[in-house]
């Protein structure tokens, strides 16, 4: 699994819980979120991770609950959930643009009548 996904899709973040949560907490929170998602409540549509907000879906919630039911898998997820979720959405760093660079040419292939590869 990619490092970014390992953190962003960690079941604890998906369910909005910390690694100390009990099995009952996991089930209760999962069911609550599934209900909220069915009602399309905005507050359940995303969750916070240390890398910023991510969209939450019913499939993600179900998969997170299933992962945390297995003690071996839960142990690994607890390890990778040592960081608390970010308090607010972080802003990506602006890309470094040289002072004097020509404007981007996204139509460079179209100049010759070619489709972009």
């Amino acid at each position: 699994m990619e490092p970014e996904r390992r953190i962003a899709d960690n079941p604890f973040y998906v369910l909005g819980l910390r690694p100390t949560a009990s099995r009952v907490d996991v089930e209760r929170e999962g069911q609550k979120l599934l209900g909220m998602l069915e009602l399309k409540l905005k507050s359940a549509a995303s969750y916070m991770t240390p890398l910023g907000p991510r969209p939450r879906t019913a499939d993600k919630v179900r998969s997170a609950m299933a992962e945390l039911r297995s003690p071996d898998k839960r142990l690994v997820h607890e390890f990778w959930a040592a960081l608390p979720p970010a308090p607010e959405p972080p802003k990506p760093p602006p890309p470094a643009v040289p002072e004097h660079d020509p404007i981007a040419l996204p139509e460079a292939f179209a100049v010759h009548g070619w489709r972009r590869p």
Partner: protein, 467 residues
């Protein structure tokens, strides 16, 4: 009476020959117009087969690779279509496969087909090989390869490459020259062996370019930039102001595991890692992980194993997690193009990651090299383009491993690669007459043998390249 008839026949023959010669001369003069019509009309309209058949008339333009020229015209049409057409691509590849040895025009055609399929890296390799084609090549094919490479660089914002390739003799066209001159003007940098363009010169180049409407904005930007006549070395850029961190690892300094994970997450999600992940930063991350595994990890895992009634022993779980971290550090180092010795010097988990990466790089090259060996031994020939593609894949893997592993890894890989590639190149040269592909292979082997100091290989490859 008979004499008069004979004289008339001879006279008619002479006139007929003269007329035929004039017609041929006229056709050869009209050929560039014909090619211009095919490229600007038929190919632009996406008419693959019609472009290919019509290009068959341009015998002079594609003198050294006529079959390839036909496929090239078809591939230009394929690249101009609104969406990729796999049937047309297969048909073109079939046309290319019918010919024995690959020529430069055929190679450019294969590059355009690959680009049409979205295989941009592969297309770039083939266009670069066409630009450096050593045997006789149709100039038109080289120019199209140059145009594609310049467009590719311009789209990626790689303006130094645009400036370098755009004015290079043999591959430059009015469009690439305009792009190179405009980029040089905006960047206030000189072009190699070229003067700085005047406003009139820039407008003239723009006027001669293809797709002028797409280049109008660049022309405008170039014209508002003052012309620099005397270039000076630019002063070093001021250090960029650090923005607010996405994830601040310093905030978790009290918890070694959280600190290590914060650093790990930060670098795993950083774009353009190769510009930022220096050996110092790599060492910082490795030390953070070493501190985490030395301290709280095992204690925490032991507690949690007991609480969760996990069957895995805490030491085993810790070792598995450590291996995962090592693999991810190796992947980070590969992404950042961090030299292996720098990772090795970090010690602890850094050295483990270096070993993993070293093994992975060498194994990758070995697999490709062995595949080549088996195919050479079985004399299983591929189409010329696929031969080139396979060699490019091996070369790219080797050069990547050499870049990261340095001379030590190069010396480990070279004997096996030399043996297999040399046999492969000899097979291509002797049996299949693919001089365009095998020649550069011998030259590459010689350069590599000299770099690693393999005297036996140097002597052999010098003989092969005729030095």
């Amino acid at each position: 009476m008979t004499e008069v008839l004979a004289t008339s026949i001879v006279g008619a023959l002479i006139i007929g020959l003269a007329v035929a010669a004039w017609v041929l001369l006229l056709l050869s003069m009209l050929e560039p117009i014909g090619w211009w019509t095919i490229r600007g009309g038929l190919a632009r309209a996406g008419l693959v087969k019609l472009s290919a058949y019509a290009a068959g008339l341009c015998r002079g333009i594609f003198e050294h690779d006529r079959g390839g020229g036909r496929v090239l015209a078809g591939a230009l049409a394929l690249a101009s279509r609104a969406a990729h057409d796999e049937d047309a691509a297969t048909w073109l590849e079939g046309q290319l496969g019918e010919r024995s040895a690959l020529g430069a025009a055929g190679l450019v055609a294969a590059g355009l087909i690959a680009a049409s399929r979205g295989q941009r890296d592969g297309a770039r390799d083939m266009m670069t090989a066409a630009v450096h084609w050593e045997t006789a090549a149709p100039p038109v094919a080289r120019v199209i390869a140059g145009e594609w490479l310049v467009a590719d660089a311009a789209e990626r914002g790689d303006w130094p490459t645009v400036m370098r390739l755009g004015v290079r003799d043999g591959i430059a066209s009015p469009t690439t020259r305009f792009l190179a001159f405009a980029a040089a003007r905006v960047r206030r940098e000189p072009l190699i062996d070229e003067p700085s363009a005047t406003d009139v010169g820039l407008r003239w180049l723009w006027w001669r370019s293809r797709g002028r409407k797409h280049l109008r904005a660049l022309l405008g930007q170039a014209l508002v930039t003052p012309r620099v006549l005397h270039f000076r070395k630019p002063p070093p850029p001021p250090p960029a102001e650090a923005g607010p961190p996405v994830l601040d690892p310093a905030a978790f300094a009290g918890d070694p595991l959280a600190h290590a994970q914060a650093l790990h997450a930060l670098w795993s999600t950083t774009p353009e890692l190769e510009k930022q992940w220096t050996p110092t930063r790599a060492a910082e991350l490795c030390k953070a992980w070493d501190a985490a595994f030395a301290g709280p990890v095992l204690t925490r895992l032991t507690e949690r194993c007991r609480a969760l009634a996990v069957q895995t022993k805490p030491e085993v779980a810790a070792a598995q997690l450590r291996h995962t971290v090592g693999e991810e550090l190796a992947a980070l180092a590969a992404r950042a193009q961090l030299p292996l010795p720098a990772l090795q010097e970090c010690g602890g988990i850094g050295a483990e990651a270096a070993m993993l990466l070293r093994g992975e790089l060498i194994l990758g090259v070995e697999k490709l090299s062995q595949a080549l060996r088996v195919r050479t031994k079985d004399k299983r020939a591929l189409a010329s383009v696929d031969e080139l593609r396979e060699w490019n894949a091996l070369k790219r893997a080797y050069e990547r491993a050499a870049l990261l592993g340095g001379l030590e890894v190069r010396r480990v890989m070279f004997p096996d690669v030399h043996l297999n590639v040399c046999n492969y190149a000899v097979w291509l040269w002797n049996d299949r007459k693919e001089f365009g592909i095998s020649g550069p292979l011998f030259r590459w082997l010689l350069a590599e043998a000299e770099a690693v100091g393999d005297e036996e290989a140097i002597a052999l490859q010098r003989k092969n390249v005729g030095k």
